[in-house]
């Protein structure tokens, strides 16, 4: 309470300065009151921090050069509390996988790969999608005809299939995975943005700002885009989750990240055959994946409320 008060005081001083800073300060203030944002952001911060700090954490090597057969599929040591026989298990928080590698350290290291790929891929497809969708929706006419046609062309293929084709064509590497997901995923953003822009451009304030002498580009970015942001953010947060899934699937099919590099999806798929005798191999990466996706979705939902100025002053 005390902390929030002092934070608010500081923000108030900041607020007086006005403009974009005021908007951000207001958003931070409203965000701190929104439970969904707080939880979602906490999860994200924890995940990102773990991923960043992975090399410094006291963990086993995720990709040991030599494998010990006696370490294979050891259960997590704390499963003993529930009556599980863990006589061999020792110090493995999430147990070990079928090759005897520590699952916990692989999950943490996997976060680096999965988060990087997902956020970058979503960022790139967001940028492409917003640019094209905004242009198409705002200008209409032939521009719209061409861009909407392109969007539909990409939209006809399932994002995963397209990503698979691109990843296969480009060759397996992390950059190519990002590229492949971006190329296959932008159409959704573009479609959403176009639809939003189509409705917003008909609104009176667009006409008003044109009557007050604003350029098209200015109207597009300062009036149309901010009014379309809410669904885009939600879509992006779901997109991150989607991108993680696509990346996992690509890794599983061998066109994504290559085997020794840990990635959540790859771990999941490798754990599936052992689900009966060693459930921890697949379960823990799955749970972490679930929590991360949940975090992103919560953040997206919360941000939608926070970014909507009509929610200002409301308590949730």
């Amino acid at each position: 309470m005390r902390l929030r008060k002092s934070l608010n005081d500081r923000l108030l001083g900041w607020k007086m300065a006005g403009g974009i800073r005021e908007t951000i300060a207001g958003m931070v203030e409203r965000g701190s009151r929104n439970m969904m944002v707080v939880i979602g952001l906490s999860i994200m911060i924890v995940m990102v921090a773990l991923a960043l700090l992975a090399p410094f954490l006291p963990m086993a090597d995720p990709t040991p050069s030599e494998l010990h057969p006696e370490d294979q599929t050891l259960p997590p040591h704390w499963w003993g509390w529930f009556g599980y026989n863990v006589s061999k298990g020792d110090g493995h928080l999430f147990g070990t996988d079928e090759l005897g590698r520590d699952v916990f350290s692989r999950v943490i290291w996997g976060a680096r790969v999965s988060l990087t790929v997902a956020t970058l891929a979503v960022f790139f497809s967001l940028v492409i999608g917003v640019m094209l969708g905004l242009t198409a929706g705002y200008f209409g006419g032939y521009v719209d005809y061409i861009i909407a046609g392109t969007i539909d062309l990409f939209w006809t293929f399932p994002a995963f299939l397209l990503a698979l084709a691109f990843a296969a064509a480009l060759g397996p590497s992390l950059t190519n995975v990002i590229l492949a997901i971006s190329i296959s995923y932008w159409a959704g953003f573009a479609r959403l943005m176009r639809g939003q822009a189509l409705t917003v451009r008909e609104r009176l304030f667009v006409e008003a700002s044109r009557a007050l002498g604003a350029k098209n580009i200015r109207i597009m970015f300062t009036h149309v885009l901010p009014n379309c942001l809410a669904p885009l953010i939600v879509w992006a947060s779901i997109g991150v989750a989607d991108a993680i899934t696509i990346e996992s699937s690509l890794s599983f099919l061998g066109v994504g990240t290559q085997p020794p590099t840990p990635s959540w999806g790859y771990m999941l798929f490798r754990g599936i055959p052992y689900l009966e005798e060693a459930p921890w191999v697949a379960t823990f990466p799955g749970i972490v994946l679930l929590i991360t996706i949940l975090g992103f979705n919560l953040l997206g939902d919360g941000l939608r409320d926070v970014l909507d100025p009509r929610m200002k002053g409301m308590r949730r």
Binding site: K15, A17, G18, G19, E22, T23, R203, L204, F205, E207, A208, S209, R210, A211, L212, G213, A214, K215, R218, T222, H223, P226, N227, L229, P309, R310, K312
Partner: protein, 425 residues
Amino acid sequence: MMSERKPLLEIRGLRTQFFLHEGVVTALDGIDLTVYEKESVGVVGETGCGKSMTAFSVLRLVPNPGKITAGNIFFMEPTEVRQRRMQLEAEAQEWYRRKPLAEKKKLIALYDFRDPGIRKKAKKMTVAQTEKVVPPAEAPTGVVRNYLVGKAKTMPSTDKLGRDAALWTSDLLTKTIDEMRSVRGRSVSMIFQDPATALDPVFTVRYQLGEVISLHQNIYDRAALDKKIEQILQLVRIAAPKNVMKQYPHELSGGMKQRVMIAIALSCSPSLLIADEPTTALDVTIQAQILNLLRDLIRTTGSSMMLITHNLGVVAEVCDRICVMYAGRIVEDAETFELFARPKHPYTAGLLMAFPKLGERKPELSVIRGTVPNLMKPFPGCPFVERCDKAMEVCRKERPSRVEISPGHFVSCHLWTGGENPNVR
């Protein structure tokens, strides 16, 4: 008295047409309207008679597939240039008049029916089509323009005034898109009908005001901008400008929003303020406040106003002069008192009759019978003929010309072209 004042906005023969699949809709058909400096002009008429289209045409914001196909909109033209231009145009008319019929046809086929603003090649007419053209008595805008441009080429480059006059540099329709953009908001500003939707819901009042000010006046310093915004908000009588600045449109009441809209429109002290039904979305008490505010602001800032409304009470309160529009034409143009006391056009008379008076109870409200004609069909005569009780044979055939009955009182009606003094009531 009229001629002494300096015209700020001079619309002449403005024709705006919409090119639809079904045909051509003539939304504005030869509007003549002059707004003098420090004058507020009311434009009244029924829904769809072209009031708002006049405003959008002035700002060159006619929505697609609309095009301005003829006419001029002279704005802030220096007096000398205007005089010179009048001379030149008279010359052009004379030149056109002397042409033989065949050449007139050719001229019309070549240079009429084109957007004077955007230089675009007109469709080439075939010889047979050219034959069918009926050349009007007066040279249309496109032909005059063509003559004047040719004339300007022969002028010496030192004759700046002459070139300005001949090339219609003050005509908003000859301005480029960039020039037009700097006119909008800075010299000509517009207030919209519905303040609830005319403000961007995602930005604070200060942002939206600041955007316009920084756009046109290049003030980027935060403190200076804030001070300016506060002053403007005080000008439109907002009680706590510092608080309102930080609020979003949805936090303000309807009247406050309209004040903010007015503030935005006036922020760059425009010479002409176009108010498109500024009080329609507001309740009666707020209407009165907003109208008083508008009137006072116009007086103090010394700008002119074009008030578009369908409410005769509103114009009576605020405007010096009233133009009555009907089916894309201005049928009557007179000073407020004159118009209310002595309406000359049957349509104006009908409008005034239909306006219920307070404290008077009629068994039946009087209406003007019939409906507005279809603007897609071209009519040679007066557009009001089907609804007019005083319609004559000539009304169906000939378009009434604009007659000045008494100083400053213009009417387009065949009743008045004859010379006798009929009773229109």
